[in-house]
């Protein structure tokens, strides 16, 4: 054999080994970790039950339904619209595992972009999972990508054009679930997921829709609730209620010229009252230091502390960081306060929650104390 053939075989072999090791890890990240159904869950359906076009696709995802003892208003909670914003996913999981409803109905989609949970963004250096210790043992959760997995939707166009408005965005935004609403039945996978969620909202007459997000600490819309004009009154009552619990939160109107987002399109295209909530997540920011499970869980980051001193951030940031317990606590407090504010002004259509930890409970006990044990019967 010639010398250059031998070196070629060697190079190809090393490349194949690297591809095999990395490939195994990528395939492992596709396996979803279990959510342990709580006592309040009455039914688990799939999004394709409302839009059959999603059946069998990587965009189909579980919808947990918690029916109250008495009828009332309904709420849809979207966790994991962006799977790299873990507090939204965890808050949704907590609702599924803990919430019970004296009245009204709760729909929870913990992995709104299920495809986004199956991979990580290139060049973001993110961990593939994070682990929360519970008294009965560790619970593992996926840390995913902001966008649909390219193996489920590829290639991206050069420029993404939002279907109903014609707005143009960078091509990779075509896989961003929160730029695709109201969606299209014959569109891309991402647009079809949007369409499926819109069908659920329409067919079930969802009263309030809450989309749970996180933002990087240098981003202006943070620790905030963003509301469509028709949800503004509900959102402002909620902000007042949260302030009474010493939870500072900003109220932002949904920008008219930014299209494809839940708080804009769900309000324009359906009868639901849409709001979106943001907490502070260092692990998705551009200023963050070492990116690992610890950063996801604690939010402790020396570069963010320094950036805060330089006045570059929109949230206070010190050595204590912003732990996931706090971020999930904010979301859960916001959801409960939304329901409370709604019920105060709509006594004939109540929506009430029980069994959930308060913000202070989570700050004292940590998430692990309130999650179900991993050994419980799995959903």
């Amino acid at each position: 054999m010639k010398k250059h053939t031998i070196t070629a075989i060697l190079c190809a072999a090393v490349a194949l080994i690297a591809a095999a090791i990395a490939g195994t890890s990528f395939l492992e990240a596709r396996k979803q970790t279990p959510i342990v159904k709580g006592p309040g869950v009455s039914e688990i359906k799939m999004l394709s039950d409302w839009f059959p076009g999603l059946k069998g696709s990587p965009g189909d995802t579980e919808v947990y339904i918690l029916r109250g003892a008495k009828p009332g208003a309904s709420m849809l909670v979207l966790g994991g619209t962006h799977p790299n914003e873990p507090s939204g996913h965890l808050a949704a999981v907590m609702l599924i595992e803990r919430a019970q409803l004296p009245s009204g109905t709760l729909y929870v989609i913990p992995r709104a972009n299920a495809s986004g949970f199956t991979h990580n963004d290139a060049q973001e250096g993110a961990p593939q999972k994070f682990t929360i210790q519970t008294p009965a043992g560790p619970r593992v959760f996926r840390y995913g990508s902001r966008a649909t997995n390219p193996i489920h939707q590829w290639p991206d166009p050069n420029v993404y054009i939002h279907a109903s408005s014609g707005q143009t965005l960078s091509g990779s935004e075509t896989r961003n679930l929160n730029r695709g609403y109201p969606g299209r039945p014959d569109g891309t996978l991402t647009e079809r997921i949007c369409y499926g969620i819109v069908q659920l909202i329409k067919q079930e007459n969802i009263t309030i829709t809450v989309d749970l997000h996180e933002a990087s600490p240098e981003y202006p819309v943070i620790n905030a609730i963003v509301a469509h004009p028709k949800a503004m009154s509900l959102a402002s009552d909620t902000v007042l209620g949260l302030e009474m619990q010493d939870i500072a939160i900003r109220l932002e109107p949904s920008p008219v010229n930014l299209r494809g987002l839940t708080h804009r399109e769900l309000g324009d295209f359906t009868d639901t009252l849409p709001v979106l909530m943001e907490t502070a997540n260092a692990s998705q920011g551009r200023l963050r230091g070492r990116t690992d499970e610890a950063l996801v869980l604690t939010g402790k980051d020396k570069w963010y502390v320094r950036a805060a001193r330089l006045g570059r951030l929109y949230v206070p940031y010190d050595e204590k960081g912003h732990p996931l317990d706090e971020r999930v606590g904010r979301h859960l407090a916001g959801i409960q306060e939304l329901a409370f504010s709604w019920t105060l002004s709509h006594e004939d259509q109540p929506l009430e929650f029980e069994g959930l930890p308060s913000y202070d409970d989570l700050m004292t006990d940590g998430l692990g104390a309130w999650l179900n044990p991993p050994s419980a019967p799995q959903s």
């Binding site: 090791i21 290139a122 200023l287 570059r312």
Partner: protein
């Protein structure tokens, strides 16, 4: 000294040692530097990180590979030479106008696709021989082509760095046409005259026309011979104009063009031509893969945060200086990467100015990253197109124009509100 700083020094050191002392290829030096960073930084799954980083460029790899095949086919079919003959013959009496027109022509593919590589490898490759026959040196031609290419990438309608910056602060890509034209077209005219007209005005263009070879053109006819480039440009324009109807993507468009070159002119071995194209493209594709690994490791180990926060640490009055230095420097890794990693934080630090003008200006500075070695996509491909082995000679010529570009961009940022009031 922070551990991130030490890691940064380690990676830069390993890269430099590999490149300059051991004379390894750039891509391999990056691989070793990224591996060293991943191991020293204690990443748990280093191979997963190294491989994952490369996926930021899969689409770019396809675009570059197919664009190179198209360029090679267009040349091998004899069309390139024939096109030069036609254009120079028609416009040789007004070289200043010809130079400006040719510069704008180089910009077109970049304007439509948002990629400087597309500009250099398509229109740049077509125009280069015209520059030569008119009397420009290879280095001047290479410099003008790479400048026109990055201006094309910034000029509207498609500007990906602005979209990236806008995506980071939720600003839609609307209303950028005028500021981007104001930023790019005057600069293009200045560079066309500076590198082009100044060099060719003394040359006797009548003699040049006599030396042109029209034989291929006569044999196949202009319509058939130039069909591939016309089809590629028409498809690019149609895709931009009717994106809902036509969404082929650049790789497919280039591939269709390549297929046409095979039947349009002189017969050539298309497989060998494609292999040669790939051989020429591979060093750059390897650099992209290496860059992807480096960015991933820098992000995971916190080196990226160290760079960004230090760039933001300067007092407000020095912020513009920091922008002028750090964004092109980070562009050594990738122009788009610089727009995302530094462009977004700087944009947030500059809130209060006119956002559209500011983002447009930042994108122009980010585009300079395509001149910054070791990636230097615009310069490397321009060197290939004009037939220069080492692109360093072109880079030297680009220094003053790059400073001019930075000066224009900073002026736009400083006077963003006043400029906005003009239109």
């Amino acid at each position: 000294m922070s551990p991130e700083f030490l890691l940064f020094i380690l990676m830069v050191g390993v890269f430099a040692a590999g490149c300059f002392l051991l004379k390894w290829p750039v891509a391999a030096s990056m691989l070793v530097a990224a591996t060293a960073g991943a191991l020293a930084g204690g990443l748990q799954d280093p191979i997963r990180h190294l491989v994952e980083g490369t996926f930021g460029y899969v689409d770019t790899i396809l675009t570059i590979a197919t664009a190179m095949m198209f360029m090679m086919g267009f040349r091998d079919s004899g069309a390139l030479e024939a096109l030069t003959a036609v254009v120079v013959k028609r416009f040789h009496k007004v070289p200043s106008l010809l130079m400006i027109l040719l510069t704008l022509v180089i910009m077109v593919p970049g304007m439509i696709t948002g990629s400087s590589t597309a500009s250099v490898l398509t229109a740049g490759a077509v125009v280069a021989p015209m520059f030569f026959v008119m009397g420009m040196s290879k280095v001047d031609a290479g410099a003008l082509i790479s400048l026109a290419a990055i201006l094309g990438m910034i000029a509207p309608p498609v500007n990906i760095p602005v979209m990236i910056i806008g995506g980071g602060i939720d600003m839609p890509y609307v209303g950028f046409e005028i500021p981007l034209l104001l930023l790019t077209i005057p600069l293009a005219i200045v560079f066309a005259l500076w590198f082009g007209w100044r060099k060719v005005r003394g040359v006797d263009q009548a003699k040049v026309v006599e030396s042109l070879d029209f034989s291929t053109l006569q044999q196949y006819g202009a319509i058939k011979l130039f069909a591939p480039i016309v089809v590629v440009l028409v498809l690019m324009v149609l895709e931009k104009a009717f994106p809902r109807v036509l969404s082929l993507g650049m790789p497919l468009i280039f591939l269709l063009g390549t297929a046409l070159t095979w039947i349009a002119g002189k017969r050539f071995d298309i497989l060998q031509s494609a292999r040669k194209a790939m051989e020429d493209a591979l060093p750059v594709l390897g650099i992209l893969v290496g860059v992807g690994m480096l960015i991933q490791v820098m992000t995971a180990t916190g080196v990226r945060g160290f760079i960004v926060v230090n760039a933001l640490s300067v007092p407000q009055e020095l912020l513009l200086v920091m922008i002028a230095i750090s964004i092109p420097l980070f562009g050594a890794i990738s122009a788009f990467g610089a727009a995302s990693v530094l462009g977004v934080p700087f944009m947030l630090a500059l809130l209060g100015r006119d956002q559209i003008i500011t983002a447009a200006s930042l994108s122009l500075i980010a585009a300079l990253g395509d001149f910054m070695p070791p990636t230097a996509l615009a310069a490397i491909f321009a060197a290939k197109v004009v037939g220069i082995e080492k692109y360093g000679t072109i880079l030297k010529k680009l220094l003053v124009p790059a400073l001019l570009i930075i000066a224009v961009a900073l002026t736009f940022i400083l006077f963003s509100r006043q400029i906005r009031a003009l239109y």
